[in-house]
């Protein structure tokens, strides 16, 4: 059996990983690269562009950008796509100095090798790369030399202690290398050197000279700018080295070809594939009036999808076409994710086009859409969902068909708590409404908020018989004042004090309180002493409730009310009762409705059997009758129904509204 734990097994198998540990760019500093590159933008007219409504488009005349500009744009695009999908992917960029020494352009000293925050990393990258313009005066007529390439590999050697390059595990146990893990370092060299032999020899000698061939596998991509002829990329192993491979890209037509070649290299490095979302309906405002709907396509990059045959599709390659099927709202039980499929981040291939901006804006608003593959047999992918997850646009593969996880629900009369009919639903609703969170303003949730929750629930009865205080209609004005979040005026607080006075009078007259026989603590006390203990329990309960609400927005007033209670009580509160109530509530040990078997805990041991029978009484219904008007019904039905006459009866509303 595998020795890995189930947890690590499930986690490892699900995370999308790139093929490469990191990418290192080496930019040649030759005069040829500072010259104009072909393939610049054509002039565009105002009518042909979809993006801008201003008159600015008409001036975009033929522009000639230099090779270096195209290269840097391609590098930025590589980083943009990489960081949108793998935010912690490491990139470093090197240039050549006046003496062919390698200059590390990004990250500069003081910056971490990995991007720290997306709000600053692009800024840091741009600031760092602005130094490239200073190198123009050192541009050489010759192309890349062995020493400049060698310096890059020397800097890689310095990364040996980096955990990303602790891939000696790759060599220690070759069996651990699999397509599931990063397994090479990508070196990107942009040069004007056209001689393949020179290029391959330069790389070989650099690796051998630095003695770094054992560290990891190297995949070197060489982009030959201004190549005289158009050729397909060639890929081969470098002779004489254990594990180094070189891909040569021939860029002959200009900047856009260079850009596409970079993206092709990126797709392999990060194991990405492309999906074209087709038939996106967009309503175009027609100047003549009315609205026409046209369909557009948007190209997205994302980690390779898993097919229904449980194989991963090939990086790069022909984009998968997925048709816009229908928007979806909220969670639907029919949408079951494919086994082993997790939401994968996507990023648009060109974020500036209007269709892309519309689609991105639609999803960023919290909308989701189902996509249907148009090449099911070829791709093995059927249905996907495009949606927002954690602020990022993600793609999730769904199972075809509608396997529902929750299709059938058992009857609740069979489950624990299902037959209880006197839950305090109203109070719980109030509690739930007071702990509503707003992710925008309240995340991250501070730990104090959770301790407040503990306080509020330190005494919170599940059912009516868990409490005496909640059963007294005299206390309704007090609870309304204490539990309600709205600010109360003086007269309402005065009414709360009057409520306390009223019950104190009852205490003085020893008026029988309701619900003694079913109370969670009093029911365990012999009935002879139960009545005497009932007010002691009642005041402790009230004190605990006031304490729980003393951190609310009206905390000062609640504390003042509590102080008033302490001052007015005829005898001090008994701490052992507090402990007993808390313990019972926490353990939820409700004695049950069968009182005949309940024996008081204070029954003396030598009590005769006959005398014991005195303690076994049936429940006295004088107050429980209030709950038995035939409207109790079952827990989950008739929740709002009350007979007409009883809606005005405030003494009943408090106890029976939820039944």
């Amino acid at each position: 059996m595998s020795t890995r734990t189930e947890n690590s097994r499930s986690e490892e198998r699900k995370v999308a990983r790139p093929n490469a540990f990191r990418t290192v760019f080496l930019l040649e500093n030759s005069t040829a690269l500072w010259s104009s590159a072909p393939g610049s933008f054509e002039p565009v007219s105002e009518e042909s562009t979809l993006s801008s409504r201003s008159s600015a488009t008409s001036f975009v005349a033929q522009t000639e950008w230099t090779w270096i500009t195209w290269i840097l744009e391609a590098v930025f695009e590589y980083c943009r796509i990489a960081w949108d999908i793998f935010p912690s992917y490491g990139v470093s960029i090197h240039g050549s100095g006046p003496n062919d020494e390698t200059l590390k352009l990004y990250p500069t000293s003081g910056q971490p090798d990995q991007p720290s925050s997306s709000t600053t990393r692009f800024r840091d990258l741009r600031i760092a790369m602005s130094a490239v313009s200073q190198l123009e005066r050192f541009a050489k007529a010759a192309s890349m030399s062995i020493s400049s390439a060698g310096s890059v590999f020397e800097s890689i050697r310095d990364l040996e202690n980096d955990e990303l390059l602790s891939a000696p595990v790759y060599y220690e146990n070759i069996e651990n290398v699999s397509s599931d893990r990063p397994f090479y370092v990508r070196i990107v060299i942009v040069t004007t050197e056209k001689d393949e032999l020179v290029l391959v020899n330069s790389v070989r000698e650099s690796i051998m000279r630095q003695n770094i061939g054992y560290i990891t596998r190297f995949e070197i991509a060489v982009f030959i700018c201004s190549s005289p002829e158009a050729k397909a990329p060639s890929y081969k192993k470098i002779d004489g080295l254990n594990d180094a491979y070189i891909t040569l890209y021939y860029i002959s037509t200009g900047g856009t070809e260079l850009l596409e070649a970079f993206k092709s290299c990126l797709a392999w490095d990060l194991r990405l594939s492309r999906t074209i979302v087709t038939d996106i309906p967009m309503r175009e405002d027609v100047k003549t009036g009315g609205a026409a709907s046209t369909s557009y396509n948007v190209d997205m990059f994302h980690p390779c999808l898993i097919t229904e045959q449980k194989t991963q599709s090939r990086p790069g390659g022909t984009p998968l076409r997925m048709k816009w099927l229908k928007p979806v709202k909220g969670t639907t039980f029919a949408h079951v994710p494919l086994d082993d499929a997790l939401p994968i981040r996507t990023t648009p291939s060109d974020p500036t086009t209007r269709p892309t901006q519309c689609l991105v804006g639609y999803v960023l608003d919290g909308n989701a859409v189902l996509l249907e593959s148009q090449e099911v047999e070829k791709s093995g992918v059927k249905i996907c969902k495009l949606f927002l997850s954690g602020g990022k646009i993600c793609l999730l593969q769904l199972k075809s068909g509608t396997e529902r996880v929750v299709d059938d629900i058992p009857s609740l009369l069979e489950v624990p708590g299902g037959k209880v009919t006197n839950y305090r639903v109203k109070e719980m609703c109030t509690l739930l409404k007071t702990i509503v969170l707003d992710p925008k303003s309240q995340f991250p949730i501070p730990s104090q908020a959770l301790s407040r929750q503990k306080k509020m629930t330190s005494y919170f009865p599940f059912i009516y018989s868990d409490s005496l205080a909640y059963l007294l209609p005299q206390f309704v004005p007090l609870f309304e004042v204490v539990a309600s979040p709205e600010k109360k005026d003086r007269s309402e607080w005065h009414a709360a004090r009057n409520a306390i006075e009223e019950v104190l009078d009852m205490n003085a007259q020893n008026t029988l309180l309701p619900g003694l026989n079913t109370h969670v603590v009093l029911s365990t006390i012999p009935s002879g002493t139960r009545r005497a203990e009932s007010y002691a329990v009642l005041w402790v309960e009230l004190d605990m409730i006031l304490e729980a609400y003393s951190n609310s927005s009206e905390g000062d007033s609640v504390r003042s009310l509590r102080d008033y209670l302490h001052a007015r009580l005829p005898t001090p509160l008994r701490s052992e009762l507090r402990t007993l109530i808390l313990d019972r509530v926490r353990r939820h040990s409700y004695p049950g409705s069968n009182t005949e078997n309940r024996v008081g805990t204070t029954v003396p041991e030598n009590t005769t059997e006959g005398a014991q029978g005195l303690y076994k009484r049936k429940a006295r219904p004088e107050f429980e009758g209030r709950l038995k008007f035939g409207r109790m019904g079952k827990l989950y039905q008739n929740l709002q129904k009350l007979e007409k006459g009883q809606r005005e009866d405030t003494t009943l509303i408090h106890a029976s509204l939820e039944l």
């Binding site: 602005s130 960023l364 708590g417 209880v420 949730i445 929740l639």
Partner: protein, 522 residues
């Protein structure tokens, strides 16, 4: 979820692996140590030791007993997992039964009447493909097989073309658990390699939900040639597999000081549950409006939340259905809130370290009369929006605390100029802002500095010329004198930029205010 437990029906399965001595006290002790295959009784005649088939049948019984405790919801009631029992030989599946007792009795009859054949994995997987089409849920397939006598079956399978193999494996929506029964000697190695191949074919590269249940501890080895089958280790291995397959998941749901035990269906530890390792304490952090939740991260898994007995050891003599429980209490409250428009709430729950989900009420889809609670689990991660949920998660997300993608409206990312639309869009935006000078002076300089930074970073000095031309066009349309002067001033500075005279320098307005290029967060 369902299970299919298959036993090989072949001559090699009739072989015995143990030396059986009824009078041996050591053996008696050993039998008494068995936890799960206690039904492996001593044979009436001590000369007949248990065969591989006996071991497989008794292990099947162990799994059947364990599955009784694994809840499954069928037709509105809680039932145990459904299991299909069968044998497989050269003719595919036989002696198919849905009850262990019927299967056992069928085997007893078949032993007398049905000849033992050779195993055939080709016919096994063909039959399984057909059987799984009728099973609408995910399935575990457990196969007890012999490590010897399978050479012909192996060569038959290996002689298939890759298309033919693809038609047999992977099994649709099924997890394959193979239990080879053997001594672990050299002659078993070929079979073990073959079984591992089958596992890989079923699961694909890099996945390991299926398993070859063969441990070095299964057998005890003195040397490669001398190894012997250890009954206790076999018993432990079956026990471990039963726990893997039929482990119900229970957790305690906490709302402040209130708590209640709940069970999740399907179990998160299972194939259908997604092999999730939730915490056993679920903390309710608060409530969220349903409309807000629908815009958060998409939940990945759904589980039914079943109230569970708070006293699993029978500490209370009260009928659990009559004892108040937090889960139905919350359920009733959420249902009341759901009836109010604009008030449906869900409970935000912490289900693991930096892992969240939410609990909401739901109805059954058939009758819409029954109601329950479901847990929707988000993907692992401390964030379900663009910020962590708890402040204790801040460390986990501090490195990428503001991990805003380039396309987000909150991002100040400037698009790279890979298409003409990107260039025109940015220049057009600056032009539009310039029309609102001098009121929008701050925005004007901020946007200009963003574009300047990108132009310097890409050594694109020709871009400044384009920018100047656009501003010239706008200047003609301006009416305010201050605005015109400001635009003139900016164009002059942009010309210096284009001539590389002021790389990365600040822009200065006509009032002398400096706008450094790197003060903003772009």
């Amino acid at each position: 979820m369902s299970s299919i437990i298959l036993t090989e029906w072949s001559i090699s399965m009739c072989e015995s692996l143990l030396n059986w001595d009824d009078s041996s006290s050591k053996q008696v002790d050993r039998l008494s140590q068995l936890q799960n295959i206690k039904s492996l009784q001593r044979q009436p005649q001590s000369s007949i030791p248990p065969s591989r088939l006996d071991l497989a049948l008794h292990a099947t019984r162990c799994l059947a007993e364990k599955s009784l405790r694994y809840p499954s919801i069928v037709n509105g009631s809680l039932q145990s997992e459904s299991i299909t029992y069968a044998t497989f030989g050269s003719a595919g599946l036989q002696n198919v039964s849905s009850r262990y007792e019927d299967f056992r009795d069928g085997i007893a009859l078949a032993t007398a009447s049905q000849p033992f054949t050779k195993a055939s994995y080709v016919s096994l997987f063909s039959s399984l493909q057909m059987l799984l089409k009728t099973v609408k849920t995910s399935a575990y397939v457990v196969v007890f097989c012999s490590t010897t006598g399978s050479a012909s079956a192996i060569s038959e399978f290996r002689s298939l073309t890759s298309e033919q193999r693809l038609a047999l494996l992977p099994l649709p929506n099924a997890d394959l658990q193979i239990v080879p029964i053997g001594k672990g000697s050299v002659e078993d190695f070929e079979a073990l390699d073959f079984f591992q191949e089958l596992i890989t074919l079923n699961d694909g590269e890099g996945r390991s939900s299926s398993k070859l249940n063969w441990s070095p501890n299964f057998v005890k080895r003195k040397s490669l040639q001398k190894s012997y089958f250890d009954l206790i280790n076999f018993d432990l291995a079956i026990d471990a597999m039963a726990k893997l397959l039929y482990r119900p998941f229970s957790a305690t749901l906490f709302l402040g000081e209130l708590s209640g035990r709940v069970q999740l269906v399907p179990s998160p530890m299972s194939l259908r549950g997604g092999f999730q390792s939730f915490s056993e304490d679920f903390r309710i952090l608060g409530t969220l409006e349903k409309a807000v939740v629908d815009k958060l991260s998409h939940p990945l898994r759904t589980y039914y939340v079943l109230p569970s007995d708070n006293h699993p050891n029978g500490a209370s003599n009260v009928n659990p259905a009559e004892e108040p429980h937090l889960a139905p209490y919350l359920h009733a409250s959420l249902r009341v809130l759901a009836t109010h428009p604009n008030q449906p709430l869900v409970l935000l729950v912490c289900i693991g370290k930096a892992w969240y989900g939410y609990i909401e009420p739901t109805e059954d889809l058939k009758t819409r009369k029954k109601s329950g609670l479901v847990l929707q689990a988000f993907p692992t991660g401390a964030t379900i929006t663009d910020r962590p949920v708890l402040d204790e998660d801040l460390d986990a997300t501090s490195v990428h605390g503001s991990d805003i993608p380039s396309y987000s409206t909150g991002s100040s990312f400037i698009p790279v100029y890979t298409s003409v639309e990107a260039v025109t869009s940015d220049i057009g935006r600056v032009s539009r802002i310039s029309r609102k000078l001098p009121e929008r002076k701050e925005a004007f300089f901020t946007e200009l500095n963003k574009l300047r930074l990108h132009a310097f970073a890409t050594c694109n000095f020709a871009f400044f010329e384009q920018l100047i031309r656009a501003l010239e066009k706008e200047r003609v349309l301006l009416k305010d004198g201050t605005a015109m002067a400001e635009v003139d001033n900016v164009m002059q500075q942009l010309r210096a930029d284009g001539e590389k005279l002021n790389t990365m320098g600040a822009l200065v307005s006509i009032s002398g205010v400096q706008y450094p290029i790197v003060s903003q967060s772009h």
